[in-house]
């Protein structure tokens, strides 16, 4: 590895490690994300009642509910990655310490681990509580991995944008949902195929294409957003 690449990788990893160190000190994002997801899951379960939904309707309805829980949980927890830099006035120090691309990758890696943790916590609980029968668990795992990557990539750039604006909390949902909606539609389609047992079709390559486009464009646009 060239010295330049190793420095860049070291910077990205340092940002990633710093994010987790800060998070483990306060546990704000972890608590918000986890508790929000579990509470929403319970609310959805209670609302559907003790009988739940019929199997025929369940394959159409339950994948939508799962992705809505994930989307709203991400909106509740992920913006903190950049908002806290502005609140604690550490953004300038971070601008001096790491190149924008390394910083973006470090923050993205942190968001990815957070979303992956959320999915590992919520999905088995959801399958149990909703009595969801999954015909192709491998495809469900692929949908969660690709969908989770897209959620993290789309949210990271939007979090960097809203951190510099007023009314950050509501603005994150307003700005990120239109960007994440195509991902949500593709992820729901793929999850539905996993539940029913259908092949993934075009939804999986399209979801991967979405992930690649959003992360590459995020990487390209981040210096503009980050540097005054």
């Amino acid at each position: 590895m060239s010295p330049l690449a190793s420095t860049w990788a070291a910077e990205a990893l340092a940002v990633f490690a710093k994010e987790w160190r800060c998070e483990l000190r306060t546990r704000i994002a972890l608590n918000t994300l986890g508790l929000f997801a579990v509470t929403t899951l319970v609310v959805a379960g209670v609302s559907l009642g003790p009988l739940g939904v019929a199997k025929a309707q369940g394959s159409a309805l339950l994948p939508v509910l799962l992705w809505l829980i994930l989307l709203f949980s991400v909106a509740a927890g992920l913006p903190r990655a950049f908002v806290q830099e502005e609140e604690t006035q550490t953004a300038t120090a971070l601008r001096l310490c790491a190149t924008p691309s390394a910083l973006f990758c470090g923050k993205l890696l942190y968001a990815l681990t957070l979303v992956a943790g959320l999915e590992v916590l919520i999905t088995p609980l959801y399958v149990m509580i909703m009595n969801l029968q999954v015909a192709r668990p491998g495809l469900l795992a692929a949908a969660l991995a690709a969908g989770g990557f897209g959620l993290a990539a789309g949210s990271t750039l939007v979090a960097a944008i809203i951190a510099q604006a007023r009314s950050k909390g509501t603005l994150f949902s307003v700005l990120s949902f239109p960007i994440l909606l195509p991902l949500l539609i593709l992820a729901v389609e793929l999850t539905r195929n996993a539940v029913v047992g259908d092949p993934p079709g075009m939804a999986l390559p399209q979801l991967l294409l979405y992930d690649a486009s959003v992360s590459i464009f995020g990487l390209m646009l981040f210096p503009v957003v980050w540097n005054p």
């Binding site: 750039l157 944008i161 960007i179 399209q206 486009s213 464009f217 957003v225 005054p228």
Partner: protein
Amino acid sequence: MKKTLPWLLWLWISAVIVGAFYYAPLAQGFIGKSSRILFFHVPMAWVSFTAFIAAAVWSVLYLMKGRQESHDRAAAVAIQLGLLFGILATVTGALWARVMWGAFWNWDPRQTSILISLLFYAAYLALRGAVDDPEKRGRLSAAYALLGMVVTPFLFWVMPRLTYTLHPEPVVNANGKVEMESRMVQVLLASTFAFTILFFWMHNLHCRLQALLARKVEAQE
């Protein structure tokens, strides 16, 4: 030219309206006279799409050419007008859907796509409203507008192919052919031209007005 353009445009649009109702024939397979909405709905959707592309171009210019306020203003005004024409295209489309499909809204992929893109550009305006510093506002909104260009292909090319759509084929169909009566094509092209000029005229007026207002605020400070 500045004084005659509005009059020429007015005459042209009047001729398009007359042509749409008295010159172009009704299309086959449509209920009643509902096909006439094509001459207004398609150009509005076209102008909305053009406005969003133009906004992306002005955003790139803003970021690459010394962050001039005029480029940022041009992008913002293009998005405001794109939203206006987008809403009009959605409303005319819903009216047509009520006649043809029996309901104003059917979650057809085309309806869903335009709704999401309108939400995106409304969010762009919300972002502009949430940042006070002009340089920061220009920078952040330009980045957000360009992010929209990543999502747009998924909305307009990917989603309509995921599920079945009842929407009629585009003017240039999948085989690259225009299967429309020639008088209809003439009126549609004339209308599209009129709406495009109308957009750029409104854009120019709005940008000049915004520049004057900015200068007034500066003078007051």
